[in-house]
Symmetry: none
Subunit: 237 residues, 4 copies
């Protein structure tokens, strides 16, 4: 709760601040909504955290609900287009595409303050169905579609096994989502040694999921019926 912002180099403080107000309020609101939930966050807290009074907040957002929706809209799906273009243009192995996707996800979302949005949506989806729909169609669906296409490409090129691309997309996404929901919920209660390093986790995830999806000897004696001694005969002729 910063009381007096130093504001590095402040020319014409008032007017400069005025333009930044909505953004500052959204930033403060995101942090508080993520931390305490929508209902438990008082608008006065948001205003104070942004360094303005309660009344001023209502000058920019007509209601708490609209503020919340603005927070979601502001932080949802901004950098998706890039990823999509990239995926379309990529020509290398699909495995690399998956790795690239996971990596970009972290730098563009998972590692930014916007990541809290995930927890927020999970918590409030039922109370703001239209927001949930918006998030679903604007963020989740495109991301899943992108992944689905990547997986389909992998399958089509014979790099991946024949898997349901929708399910595979879920599997690729799950640890990412899990990483941020954890971070904003139980992580503060965990003994530090239990908290995995995000980058290490993502690297292993990419490794495991790519291995798991790729064709090749499974090394799994259980489900895949394979002749015990079966040095991966390198399928895919």
């Amino acid at each position: 709760m910063r009381e007096s912002r130093p504001d590095t180099a402040a020319p014409a403080k008032r007017s400069r601040r005025k333009e930044a107000r909505p953004a500052e309020l959204l930033e403060a609101a995101l942090a508080l909504f993520v931390e305490k939930g929508y209902a438990a966050t008082r608008v006065e807290e948001v205003a104070a955290s942004a360094g303005v009074s309660k009344g001023t907040l209502f000058l920019y957002f007509p209601s708490k609900e609209e503020l919340f929706k603005a927070v979601v809209r502001e932080n949802a799906g901004r950098k998706l287009a890039d990823a999509q273009r990239e995926a379309a243009e990529h020509t290398g192995p699909t495995q690399d595409l998956v790795r690239e996707y996971i990596c970009r996800w972290w730098t563009e979302y998972g590692g930014t303050p916007a990541a809290g949005l995930t927890k927020l949506i999970i918590s409030e989806a039922a109370n703001f169905p239209d927001l949930a729909l918006y998030y679903q169609s604007e963020v989740v669906q495109p991301a899943h579609d992108l992944l689905k296409h990547i997986v389909q490409r992998g399958v089509a090129r014979g790099e991946f096994r024949e898997v349901d691309p929708v399910l595979a997309a879920h599997l690729i996404v799950a640890p990412l989502v899990q990483l941020v929901t954890w971070r904003y919920s139980l992580a503060p209660c965990c003994p530090p040694e239990q908290l995995p390093d995000p980058l290490a986790l993502l690297r292993l995830h990419a490794d495991v999921v790519v291995r798991g999806l790729s064709v090749g000897a499974p090394g799994d004696g259980a489900a895949a019926p394979q002749p015990a001694a079966a040095p991966p005969a390198q399928p895919k002729p």
Copy 2:
């Protein structure tokens, strides 16, 4: 909102109900807390949903907060012991153990109403730190420890690659958690064809993660640092 319960064979209706009340209230509270969140759920709704009046709820739980805590405690970590015993006694391939774990998780938790608890904890952990701690130490930690040991066993027996067991545990858990959080948040907004069949998803997950962890040809020429020529020398000498 059932008004008059038929009550198959009712000896001393009043007292019979008395004993059932706490469980009925907890059930109703779990559903509503999961659906709308703690703050947005009115105690009167919980009471009505359990077929009693507001005042009656307070006969059994001294406050809304205590009701919430009881909901969590009641639904948290009940069947864990079984899974642990099973894991300790298992003698087959570790891959089977992992599959078994995922399968059991679904039948004992993910597929039951208690699964909503996961979303609840994620949403409210910051507002109920002691509950979060309780859940972390009673449910999350044991589950993770169990998985960690399973992975360690796999590594020790040469079935799994040399991976960080803590990270691997997270990877195994992530899609499970993701499955239920999704189910209680965005799923109701999804077009049905996007909703994956839970069992199919879990089956694929088990497949992929087991493959991904197991030693053997990865079919991934990119990141996994592997001596090109390294035909799994059949571990466990």
Copy 3:
């Protein structure tokens, strides 16, 4: 809050108790109403204190308000008739009558549990105007009238100075009322040495007020209009 009354010698406990119930409830109610006030006393407390359940209380008193009124009526003005007869028959000095009155007041009321009634009436008079009226006409008025007549007798017989009998009655009563209101309000907070012995206080009060009302040398050269000729023989040289 006695839980299980031993009840010295209990023949046919149930039926014996049944008849005593109202009295026991009134006794318990008086104590609690006096201690905590009408509003802050819960009927369940009264019932528990009398060793019965909440429902039973309503078998004997139709409402909390009626219970309160019964408490007042039960304890108000019982022994007044005696004092009145006594006063009428008395033939000695009026000073003795006053002393006798004060003394009887203590043994018949001030020293009994009923004394708490005074505090109760003071506290609740505005909320129960009809009760206040009842108490005023049944207890206060007769007592004051009696005192007024006593004072008038003293004046008529030349024992007392010419004072307004109504005012004098108030002066005689004031320390009595004060004694009991204090006892049930601030006394529990007082350091013990500040708590005067009731009997000593009453003795001094009788002394002082009788002296103050009686004709004779005042020893006060200031205000009391006294016939110049009556030089107090200056005691205690």
Copy 4:
């Protein structure tokens, strides 16, 4: 219940009111608490009586209990210091000091709205032990000590008989307290002719108690050991 205060000359109405609000609320609260008791007074009534809404009250007092405590603290023992200084400096007869004390008590407390505080404390002492302690030590004790010293002075200077100063202090105070408790409890129910004029009562009280305490012929044939031969010379024929 004034709706719109005229407010003679209003510069910056809003802020002017802001400063006056606590006092207005305290005044309204005192009156209502005195009239109906703490529990039976609803905060909304207090607010309405002060001309504001329920919510506004909580802007100035964090709870009903704190409002009550503020009422007591605000009205308790304000002019005590003056009386004490006066007593210390007084050089005339102690009898005059007592008269002066009684007189000042009326003008500074008994005749002001704060007098209701006495009834309030009597009624609620048991429910607010810390307040009772505060009142006891801040108001009652100093007042009693002052009176005790006055009486001791009178005894030391041979003006008063040898009486226990603590008891005497109680006797001096009793009619004062009685006057105000009566005023706020049963007085409204009394037929007007029964209501004594406060000033007349206090004058007679001063007269009687001073006479009663002073040395000199008691004119009381009973307790005070007096020279047998002192037949009340029948004054005022």
